[in-house]
């Protein structure tokens, strides 16, 4: 973890869960997207909310970020209720949405300074520079974000969410649409975040991502949490695996990364062929 970042605030009370959801419901018309969700995220842990598309992951995340009011049930973030204490929730929680919400007209640095000013931090410029270094964006800091590759936009997006050291960070499908390199960069950033004591709730549809990152995994299906536990607890739910001898072949991802990582430096090498035109 980069030591140039601002010192973390003293440890928050660990007694309360960072996120606590009880019987949360939300419908769109007749469609009950969330028929009743219960979920706890302990302070300082990484919890992965695993589910296929359309299982209500984003709806749950938006309710936690106070972007969407729930129909029923309760949800608290750092002890604050999402429906009645929205401002406190927004202070404690930072959301990185499914699509990188960066301002393409502004430079990477200007994006970070803007967020730092909006969080009323005393030295926005220093905060921005520290985050640019931490996310390997220092060289690109004075370029417009519209010129960034997908992976860089994602990292800038994540950096913007970390301005002011929020206690809880929610990542909605942080690696969807990224190439393997970009995915690994985001994973590394999430690990560093958790190492610093931040609580992380991330949604994903990739089993591997949940395995790689999470202390605990909650499987969301049909708007309900089916099971929740550590990876070991979840794998113990099924009968023990038979021992088989299978020739280990490298995965395509391993081949790809072995070939492409040679001689390249992380951060600035995302192939231009994967770069999408910025529409803004």
């Amino acid at each position: 973890m980069d030591t140039t970042t601002a010192p973390r605030p003293p440890a928050r009370p660990t007694a309360a869960a960072a996120i606590s959801v009880r019987g949360l419901t939300r419908s769109y018309g007749d469609l009950a997207v969330l028929p009743g969700v219960d979920l706890d995220v302990a302070t300082g842990s990484i919890v992965a909310l695993l589910g296929t598309n359309g299982t209500g992951k984003t709806t749950l995340v938006k309710i936690l970020a106070t972007l969407l009011p729930p129909d029923g049930g309760t949800a608290t973030v750092a002890g604050a209720d999402v429906t009645t204490q929205g401002h406190r929730v927004r202070t404690a929680l930072s959301l990185t949405g499914q699509f990188a919400a960066v301002d393409g007209v502004l430079t990477g640095r200007e994006n970070l300074v803007l967020v730092a000013r909006l969080r009323h931090l005393p030295r926005p410029g220093e905060v921005a520079d520290a985050l640019l270094r931490r996310f390997s964006l220092a060289d690109a800091g004075d370029r417009r974000a519209a010129t960034y590759s997908n992976g860089m936009r994602r990292r800038l997006d994540l950096a913007m969410s970390l301005v002011g050291d929020p206690a809880v960070v929610v990542l909605d499908e942080p690696t969807t649409g990224l190439d393997p390199e970009g995915r690994r960069e985001v994973w590394q950033a999430v690990r560093e975040l958790a190492a610093g004591g931040t609580t992380v709730l991330l949604t994903t549809q990739y089993l591997e991502e949940a395995e790689q990152l999470a202390d605990r995994v909650a499987i969301l299906h049909g708007g309900r949490v089916l099971v929740e536990g550590t990876l070991a607890e979840l794998t113990a739910l099924l009968p023990p695996a038979r021992v088989e001898h299978v020739e280990k072949r490298p995965s395509l991802e391993e081949v790809f990364l072995a070939l492409t990582s040679a001689g390249s430096t992380a951060g600035t090498t995302t192939s231009t062929s994967t770069r999408q035109e910025d529409l803004r």
């Binding site: 972007l67 929680l93 803007l114």
Partner: protein, 265 residues
């Protein structure tokens, strides 16, 4: 303007600081696309030249003093504002579509700051093409006789009108479903001056059209601006214009606040 503030509980200092930060961002957007200022001025200048040199000679304004440019300019300025505010709808729509509005709403900031930043930027940015158009008017023979107070009143009417039209643009930006839709709302606004006293006296129009022309805000604004620029007694017409603009402003801002709250409860 408390009616337009979705979070009346936010301390004023926070509202001001957040609005300042976001206005700085919008200003950067405008400064990095100077073409938007030029294109805003382009069509009004074209209409100005067209009417001055092609159609104007055939229009009897009933005025013995001053050239047709003097008569024409106020309407052109209204058209300039109506064109310019469509960029605000466009930028707001892009914020909405690109997820930036969502990011701002998920942060501990004054909610009203998000809209105010766009509105304040719009008002200031639209005075630039207005100044450009006035500059062109001078070149083609515009000779105002207004004093300092008259010019101040002209600026006041234009700023209030820009503010009212911008809040309409905010409604359009928040409710649009496409980029084209976001700016299309300004087309009727641009046409409104043609059914007013902007280009020809309303007296020459047939009954119902004349009634409409005499009871719509553009005529009130244009008459006031014309009298002010000509250095004539403009107290009555200025009061009428300000009343129209203030009424329009209250309605548009309320509508924008309601739209924002309905869309983002």
């Amino acid at each position: 303007m408390t009616t337009t503030t979705p979070t009346p509980t936010a301390p004023l200092a926070t509202v001001v600081a957040d609005t300042a930060a976001l206005t700085g961002r919008s200003r950067t957007h405008v400064l990095r696309s100077p073409d938007t200022v030029i294109t805003t001025a382009l069509m009004p200048v074209a209409i100005l030249l067209l009417f001055t040199y092609v159609l104007g000679g055939a229009i009897d304004t009933g005025s013995r003093t001053g050239s047709y440019v003097d008569y024409l300019l106020p309407g052109i300025l209204v058209i300039t504002l109506a064109t310019g505010v469509s960029y605000t709808a466009y930028r707001l729509f892009l914020d909405l579509q690109g997820g930036l509005l969502e990011r701002f709403r998920s942060m501990p900031i004054a909610r009203s700051a998000v809209l105010w930043a766009h509105v304040l930027t719009s008002v200031v940015a639209n005075l630039v093409p207005v100044a450009l158009v006035v500059g062109v008017a001078f070149v083609v023979g515009f000779r105002p006789r207004a004093g300092v107070l008259g010019w101040l009143a002209v600026v006041g009417v234009l700023v209030l009108l820009a503010l009212a039209l911008t809040w309409l643009a905010v409604v359009a930006g928040l409710t649009a479903s496409s980029v084209e839709g976001a700016s299309a709302f300004s087309y009727p606004l641009i046409l409104l001056p043609f059914v007013s006293s902007a280009f020809a006296p309303t007296g020459s129009m047939p009954g119902p059209v004349r009634w409409f022309a005499e009871h719509q805000p553009v005529t009130a604004c244009v008459d006031a601006l014309r009298a002010l620029l000509a250095g004539q007694d403009a107290a009555g017409s200025t009061a009428a214009a300000l009343a129209w603009c203030a009424g329009l402003l209250v309605v548009a801002a309320t509508l924008a606040a309601l739209t924002f709250r309905r869309r983002f409860p």
